[in-house]
């Protein structure tokens, strides 16, 4: 396993974790742009653009793009979040050069008006699909209410209204400003010919002009309170709570992740013993979301409506009691679980690409899986308990969605 990196003159980063023992490679274009980089009137443009990228380039139609992806037998996809847009494919080594060529071409899409209108219908279908799934748009609503005017409150999908109002011209402007080579990285893991990768990328992307795309990373101010969405036909009640937590750059993020695991992992945590093992909740958990400049700790459960008040009280108590400290045994179990998860995921070429690319997106220096496992092993009980004191987990904002309209968050 060898880590390699290179930067083109225009700022495009090339990263690879080369593994000669692998039998295929995963390759992705990582773009440091997402919903937080949108304006309120272009809500959803990052995600819509991710779809439009596959609708063709100046020289390729949408059908041709899809045929080329399938001709290479690729397992390909794309994803958009608040902070990133990633286009990726897993392929046999013989397809490295043509896949780099295709994805590089796609990063400069045609964005044709007629494709734009057809794909808009697909995006609205996707919004409707999520609106039919629990908690029926509750996550987006909670993020919006928690962050208020802060850009992290922007929904990744956008709304039917913002997507309907989007124009191809606005998307072209967004693309021109955000898909700048200094805001992008080509990331590869697995059986990789790195020298060819540099040469091909230079030839295909070296002439892209750099725009110095930036990002507003001011910390968010939480907007506490309770949002209630009544859905009478739901069979279960869903509750989510957001509290401030460490950002991607915070030194205490490893300790915070271990604290979340101790309190709210799906196995062996306090939430597990009190809410899942007892059968009180159908699902429940606590986990961190780290962004540039800001972080969140989300707690959630879903349960039969007549158990929701009891579960709310338990979850609140678990979050409140974190300040009283966790035990060395709880920490040891959490460490073992994390280290094992790191080992298991490190065997998958695709997850290695996301790890390498994710570290670049967050602006971190590359660490191997073993190096990251060591960071978790070094976290002390004192550090975990410090985190619990520093981040009051029961504060913040709550959203309840389901048939019960009078669920309240204590305090």
């Amino acid at each position: 396993m060898q880590y390699r990196q290179h930067k083109l003159d225009n700022g495009l980063t090339i990263l690879a974790e080369c593994n000669d023992l692998a039998h295929f490679l995963s390759l992705g274009f990582f773009v440091r742009t997402g919903a937080r980089d949108e304006t309120p009137d272009t809500g959803g443009v990052s995600h819509f653009l991710e779809h439009m990228v596959f609708k063709g380039t100046a020289t390729k139609s949408s059908d041709e793009v899809n045929l080329l992806l399938d001709d290479m037998g690729s397992s390909s996809n794309a994803r958009t979040s608040e902070e990133s847009t990633i286009y990726h494919a897993s392929i046999l080594p013989e397809f490295q050069a043509p896949m780099v060529g295709l994805l590089a071409d796609l990063m400069r899409p045609a964005l044709r008006d007629e494709d734009f209108e057809t794909e808009k219908k697909v995006i609205i279908e996707e919004i409707m699909m999520y609106d039919d799934q629990p908690p029926w748009g509750g996550y987006e609503r909670l993020m919006q209410d928690y962050f208020g005017p802060h850009h992290l409150g922007q929904s990744v999908l956008g709304s039917v209204e913002t997507v309907t109002g989007l124009t191809a011209e606005a998307m072209r402007n967004y693309h021109a400003s955000r898909y700048s080579p200094d805001n992008m990285a080509v990331v590869v893991s697995g059986k990789t010919d790195f020298e060819s990768l540099i040469r091909d990328t230079e030839q295909l992307c070296g002439s892209w002009p750099s725009q110095s795309a930036g990002r507003d990373t001011r910390p968010a101010i939480p907007h506490p309170g309770l949002t209630t969405m009544v859905r009478e036909e739901a069979h279960l009640q869903y509750l989510m709570h957001l509290a401030p937590g460490p950002s991607v750059d915070a030194e205490d993020r490893y300790a915070a992740r271990l604290l979340c695991m101790i309190l709210g992992d799906t196995s062996g945590s306090r939430v597990f013993w009190e809410m899942l093992d007892t059968g009180l909740a159908e699902s429940a958990g606590i986990g961190g979301y780290e962004y540039h400049g800001t972080g969140l700790i989300m707690s959630y459960f879903c349960s039969l409506p007549d158990k929701a008040n009891q579960n709310t009280a338990i979850l609140h108590r678990i979050l409140e009691s974190a300040v009283e400290g966790v035990t060395e045994r709880e920490l040891e179990i959490a460490r073992q679980k994390v280290v094992s998860q790191i080992l298991l995921s490190s065997e998958r070429t695709g997850s290695r690409m996301f790890s390498v690319g994710g570290q670049w997106l967050n602006g971190h220096t590359f660490r191997t899986p073993a190096g990251i496992a060591d960071l978790y092993r070094q976290v002390t009980l004192e550090q975990v308990n410090d985190v619990a004191r520093r981040w009051p987990l029961s504060t913040g904002r709550t959203l309840s969605s389901g048939p019960q309209g009078d669920l309240a968050w204590p305090g």
Binding site: H23, D63, L92, E125, E126, S303, L343
Partner: protein, 422 residues
């Protein structure tokens, strides 16, 4: 990549079978114990018995408390699960290979000595009741569950979770009897994939399970009921109409399985597949559209799904049906070439996942009665010609169809579409 000499199997004197795939390039291992105690054995008024039994069995053993059980597995780094299907109850997990022996010892205890204590009965029941209600909030699952029952009838179309009413009826004695009768070595498969030494593994399983005997006669077979007349439409105030379609396919052990699989692949595998292109890409009628092959012993079916807004739903269904029925006109050499490279890539990528291999080995054993060599699907599909597939699709035009919809308004199969529905 070497595919030969990887698979092992051993049957113990008590009828238990070990199947294993040696993947020495991994540092992890995965395992699953598949006991032939599926929900097809649930009595007609006790749907969910198999699932509730599994839930209770995993909570406590004669020697390990609930907390000891979970903490032991967590400390081994084991990502564990227990689940049920129509055919089996499964206990399994994946973990660093160095801990495999310790985890298997815990699972031997779970399977052989579950405490089935009254102290946990109501907690376990409540968990199962919540699962039932959770499925009600999952609209595509509701559609596909009803469609499976319509397609396969009882018991193969059953939902393993049971119903709220039936779960409330189940007693501890019934659970104990189910576990006592059905958790038996005869017919049970332990599948292991990843890094291990087979001889050591075989001896370890022998020491943990070799003296496992079940004094009861493992009575019980499918308690088949006449399939109730099921409504093809569920009226619901949803944003989308959810469409499920089923039509006859091939059994997993049929020579025609791979030809049927290729035909459905042309419909649904990849971004250039016909359903994706015609329903989503060209017309923008949906976000999600797909088709797949599914099999039960001796029988196979093809299933399709699409979620689409109410106004677009009838058109989406019409286009789906048109594409599925158009298959009989044949596929192109280019479509087959793409499928072959996709299958080859998929096969190689699957070699990173011991968990995925465990699942495949169990399916093969249950539906074929043997382990299928790792590269057999790739070889069989690589050997297929366009003519062979086209003669199959011409001789087996898709239909008759079962249709289930959920949404504001019902849809219809328009034109001369063969249907099993009145």
């Amino acid at each position: 990549m070497k595919f030969d000499d990887r698979l092992f199997q051993h049957t113990y004197a008590n009828g238990l079978t070990l199947v294993a795939d040696h993947m020495p390039w991994l540092h992890s291992a995965a395992f699953s114990i598949a006991i032939p105690a599926g929900c097809k054995l649930d009595p007609a008024d006790r749907f969910g018995l198999c699932n509730l039994s599994c839930e209770l069995a995993f909570r406590e053993t004669e020697s390990l408390s609930s907390r000891e059980l979970v903490e032991t597995l967590d400390l081994l780094g084991c990502d564990y699960y227990s689940s049920t299907s129509v055919m089996c109850t499964y206990f399994g997990g994946s973990l660093p290979a160095i801990h495999l022996a310790q985890a298997l010892a815990v699972y031997a205890d779970v399977v052989r000595n579950p405490k089935l204590s009254p102290a946990w009965l109501e907690e376990a029941r409540l968990s199962c009741l919540q699962e039932v209600e959770s499925l009600e909030d999952d609209l595509p699952s509701r559609v596909m569950s009803r469609l499976r029952m319509m397609e396969y009838g009882d018991p193969w179309g059953r939902v393993t979770e049971g119903t709220t009413e039936s779960l409330q009826q189940i007693t501890l004695d019934e659970i104990r009897k189910f576990v006592f009768d059905q958790y038996a070595p005869q017919g049970t498969i332990i599948a292991v994939a990843g890094q291990f030494d087979f001889e050591s593994l075989r001896d370890l399983i022998g020491s943990l399970f070799g003296d496992w005997k079940n004094p009861a006669t493992t009575a019980g077979g499918p308690t088949s009921l006449a399939t109730a007349e099921l409504e093809p439409h569920m009226e619901f105030p949803s944003k989308q109409t959810h469409i499920g379609l089923a039509w006859p396919g091939e059994p997993y052990d049929s020579d025609d399985w791979f030809r049927s699989r290729c035909a459905v692949g042309v419909l649904s595998d990849g971004m250039s597949s016909r359903l994706f292109r015609e329903v989503r890409e060209r017309r923008g009628l949906c976000y999600s559209v797909m088709a797949s092959c599914h099999a039960i012993p001796g029988r196979g079916s093809c299933f399709g799904y699409c979620g689409t807004t109410t106004d677009a739903a009838q058109q989406a269904l019409d286009v789906m049906i048109a594409e599925i029925t158009r298959l009989k006109e044949g596929i192109t050499p280019q479509e087959l070439a793409r499928l072959k490279v996709q299958v080859r890539s998929g096969l190689i990528m699957q070699q990173e996942s011991c968990r995925s291999r465990v699942g495949t080995m169990i399916s093969d054993w249950l539906l074929l009665g043997r382990l299928r060599p790792v590269d057999e699907p790739g070889r069989r599909i690589a050997a297929l010609t366009v003519e062979q597939i086209n003669s199959y699709v011409s001789d087996h035009p898709a239909g008759p169809f079962n249709l289930v919809t959920l949404g504001e308004t019902p849809l219809g199969l328009t034109g001369a579409i063969p249907t099993t529905q009145a």
